[in-house]
Amino acid sequence: MLDLQNVGVCFGVKSVLNGCTLSLAPHERIALMGPSGCGKTTLLRTALGLQDPDSGAVTNTFSRPAAVFQEDRLFPWLTAVENINLVLSGKAETISEARHWLERLELGDAGELYPCELSGGMRQRIAIARALCVRPDLLVLDEPLKQLDAALQARVSALISEACRECALLLATHSEEEAKALGCRIYLCRDGTFYPET
């Protein structure tokens, strides 16, 4: 269970989140939508414990969180397969599992390549594979498909939906289609907080 109660986050004098209350139960899927800078990423970071709230309280009882950030955040000195294996065990015994996830993301040939040798879309898919391979109970996605073409977006959405059947999902996106493809309830941003779409 993820529970945000009256959460407020300010950057200097700018208040980004203001009295934001949101709950995410196991297996629930929520998409946060709103204009750039409205606080979607800040809310995701607060939920993940990467941003301390200035007010309010965050309770997160999920034990296996995983995230896909806006940027790929791959380790530049590790190959694609090593980047995925890093979150599994970092040892040779899970390399085949890491390769399996690369293949599921249609990157079977890219395993030995370094992030600098891959396109933005390929790097983003590796980041998605890295998040899915840990079989998370909470999956946090920050605009995960924006670097992919339409056909790939559809296939990756389907894969995320299937792989994350048992987990809660918190998505930040500008695309209603993406939110619907992932089966999310949409929450819209208003005055520094998020309300369910009516």
């Binding site: 955040r73 380790f75 090593e82 970092g90």
Partner: protein
């Protein structure tokens, strides 16, 4: 010709130029007491190297100074980790490092001579010269860790050991390598300088001092050439060792 071969050729050419200039100057001066020729220095060096004493002296100095380098490096790394983790430690240690860096090495040698036995002074001085350089570079490396990758590690609950091998080590090693590049040459020279001033038994510094005392200029040059050659070799060997560590780190988290 490959770029590497061209580079090697240019380096050899530059070296030959300086040796020829030295030979020319020695010929013009015409007094081996003031400036011995390169050939005479090589002959003296070969003659010195043919005796067991030369190697024993060299090994003795190497053991002493390498121990100092190791102590300085370890201390520099430990203090860098401490100051990275604690603002209080940073506040306390930073001024001490600035003091060590700005104090002339001769002052430390004289002080150490008063405080410690003459055999320990070169070790102490080498450690003192190496430590601030390693500390500064490793601290910078620790600060350079990518905050975004650290967040990935936090989100995925990566164990500390894995974070160390997959993030900290690859980030810090280039800084550590560059620290060794600057510190080792410095440490070796400071160690030999300390030996010259403290003249411990069976040491390169003592041989240099005695060469000067008895006006054995070719021997002075021969020992100096030895110091330069050893400094070059130590730097190469240790840097290769650190590069090996990098690869080992890579294998660890693969």
């Amino acid at each position: 010709m490959s770029p590497a071969a061209k580079k090697a050729l240019a380096k050899t050419g530059a070296g030959l130029f300086w040796i020829l200039l030295w030979a020319l100057l020695a010929h013009l001066v015409g007094q081996k007491l003031l400036l011995p020729s390169p050939l005479l220095v090589v002959k003296t060096l070969l003659s010195l190297a043919s005796g067991a004493d030369f190697w024993l002296t060299l090994l003795n100095s190497l053991a002493r100074i390498l121990s100092g380098m190791l102590a300085g490096t370890l201390l520099g790394v430990v203090l860098a980790v401490l100051t990275h983790g604690s603002a209080v430690c940073r506040t306390i240690i930073a001024p001490f490092m600035s003091l060590v860096k700005s104090t002339p090495v001769a002052s430390f040698i004289i002080l150490a001579l008063i405080w410690l036995g003459r055999g320990v002074v070169p070790l102490f001085i080498t450690a003192l010269m190496v430590m601030p350089v390693v500390w500064a570079n490793v601290s910078e490396g620790l600060r350079a860790q990518d905050e975004k990758l650290l967040e990935v590690a936090r989100v995925f609950h990566l164990p500390r050991r894995r974070v160390f091998f997959s993030l900290t080590l690859p980030t810090v090693l280039p800084y550590f390598r560059s620290a060794l590049c600057s510190a080792l040459g410095l440490g070796w020279k400071a160690g030999v300088a300390a030996e010259v001033l403290t003249v411990p038994q069976r040491s390169v510094g003592r041989m240099i001092y005695e060469s000067k005392l008895y006006l054995e200029t070719p021997e002075l040059f021969a020992w100096t050439v030895t110091v330069i050659a050893v400094s070059f070799l130590i730097e190469r060997l240790l840097l290769r060792l650190v590069s090996g560590l990098w690869r080992k780190g890579d294998d660890e988290h693969a």
